[in-house]
Amino acid sequence: MKRNGIFFWVGAVVFLIVIALITKLIGNEYPFFAGYVILQFIVLAVAWSILGGHAGYVNFGTSAFFGMGVYTAVFLFKVAGAPLLVQIAAAAAVGALMGFLLGLLTLRMQGIFFSIATIALTIVIETSITNWRYVGGAAGIQLQRPPVTWPFSGYVQMLFFVQAVLVVLAVAVSRYIQNSWIGRGLQALRDDELAAECTGVPTLKLKVLACVISGALMCAAGAPAAMYLQYADPSSAFNLNYSVSVLAMSLIGGTAHWAGPIVGAILLASTQQLLTVTISSEVNVLVLGVMLVLFVVAAPEGLIGLLRRLLRKEGK
């Protein structure tokens, strides 16, 4: 293992230990409530970038994956009272399957048509869930959290920790992909798919792989949300805001490096948490729109890109 790798894993372990300690030390539930959302967006943004950043396929279906994660959890909980870990694992499997199908779609569509198709996919799935009475239909469904298990002091604290584990998992996967043949292949097909195919890059295999990994992570990130809110309804679980937020986070951070989406997610998600509490959720969406336009226009490479440009200038 390279030195970089050792640093990364030590950092990850320290991060988890700190998170675990925090859940013991802070008595108030609110910080975990807010922190959970930020962690959740980190997972989503990192997962999104695996396909959107490396391969350049802009997926607007984040809400479809997120919502399916939520409803996989709801379904399993209602059918069998499945524990949280089973819900997350099943959601990841569902997400992987959805990702596989999405990967096959890339065979026929590229660029903006792929993006439009993913929006369409989201609405079609949302409508199907809306019409599925068993999981609550349009009115939504109330869920009763089971009693929390040792060593956690409260359910929200446990969800916070679980989401932190997912963050580490997602970042590790994304980092691995960037540094391996998968990432190089994806970048080759982003720059020129035909040329990549001609030089022997297995483009379809790579695209499907990226879709499967990205989908599984996004669905897994959605699964704990059912227990977090103790409630689920289709129009919020499949809300387009998730797709656009996650896209904005990745673009703001920059997709050229695995750390970009993390930076973007932390920045945007904490701003949004702050705004929702202090002003209103409408202003929140306004800020999202303005940030998105601003960054796409002024800093297309994101914060990471800006930083790199600065460093390069210094070097000269």
Binding site: G56, V58, F60, L105, R108, M109, G111, I112, F113, S115, I116, A117, I119, A120, L121, I123, V124, E126, T127, S128, T130, N131, A138, L240, V244, L247, A248, L251, E282, V283, V285, L286, L288, G289, V290, M291, L292, V293, V296, V297, P300
Partner: protein, 293 residues
């Protein structure tokens, strides 16, 4: 439960509704179909136009259709400016325009949505006019006047735009720029100016289309999200940039929606356009009357 009369009813209403869908999609057929601008904010512009019509109707008692015509010049200028911004920031820089463009327009759409919410709240708004709320009876069939108005205006709008694109100098220039921008440049014309003009036209059409939108049904700030599906479905099904194709595709969508509505209920309606869009993209991406094979 399902009879021939019910089906006939659904088809008639569906055709009328389809013409209305054509009217709201024509602008996108120019901007996305001919100019390749990934204009996902098109439905947001449409809803914005509806609110402008609402204000003129509510405060000054102006007829909604007239109000739609009144705001048309402003929309035209707005469209010119919007394209300029898009061109300077994306097309000029070259690579990746489509993907960043779609993110850009989503941002714009969200900003418009929130500004409408902050100004008007989330309640539904509608207009008052003599033809809103009444219906024409033919035998047992009841056809709302507002749909007939929408039908007539939509048909007129489609014919006008088709004529404009095929008969006038500027219209032909727009179609030429869609076919081969470089060739146009070699002939000494400025393709960017023509595209800007075309985008202005595409936005200007939204004045009357927005009026129809609020005549046909009450509007709310987030209505644009449903219309992303409808407008893109129509434009992609039509085959990018075909005006007569737009009308036919819109009618197909309208009939499909009303039939599903009658058979399965309103809760399935939002998925129809998106499902058709998905199907077309997967099976026949060039659309029914495609300009590209």
């Amino acid at each position: 439960m399902f009879s021939f009369e019910l089906l006939l009813d659904a088809v008639v209403i569906g055709v009328l509704l389809g013409c209305f869908y054509a009217a709201v999609s024509l602008g996108l057929s120019v901007s996305f179909g001919l100019l390749d601008v990934p204009h996902v904010a098109h439905p947001a512009f449409l809803v914005l136009a509806s609110y402008a019509v609402y204000v003129l109707n509510e405060h000054y008692g102006i007829d909604p259709l007239l109000a739609g015509l009144l705001i048309t010049p402003f929309l035209f200028v707005f469209g010119l400016a919007a394209y300029r911004l898009y061109y300077e920031t994306f097309e000029k820089r070259g690579s990746d325009a489509g993907v960043r463009g779609i993110a850009f327009f989503f941002g714009i759409a969200f900003i418009i949505e929130v500004l409408i919410i902050l100004q008007f709240g989330v309640d539904q708004r509608s207009v008052t006019a003599t033809y809103v709320g009444k219906a024409l009876r033919i035998g047992d069939m009841r056809i709302p006047f507002r749909l007939i108005v929408a039908f007539v205006v939509a048909a007129a709008l489609t014919i006008l735009l088709t004529l404009y694109l095929s008969k006038t100098f500027m219209g032909r220039a727009i179609r030429a720029v869609a076919q081969d921008q470089e060739a146009l440049r070699l002939m000494g014309a400025n393709p960017i100016q023509i595209k800007q003009w075309a985008f202005g036209i595409a936005t200007a059409v939204l004045g009357v289309a927005g009026a129809l939108l609020i005549i046909v049904a009450p509007v709310e700030p987030t209505l644009d999200r449903t219309y992303i599906g409808r407008t893109f479905c129509v434009v992609v099904m039509a085959g990018l940039g075909s005006m007569s194709g737009t009308l036919v595709a819109a009618i197909i969508l309208g009939v499909a929606e009303t039939i599903v509505l009658t058979l399965f209920g309103a809760s399935w309606a939002p998925a129809i356009s998106f499902a058709m869009l998905l199907g077309i993209l997967a099976v026949r991406p060039q659309g029914l009357f495609g300009r590209r094979s």
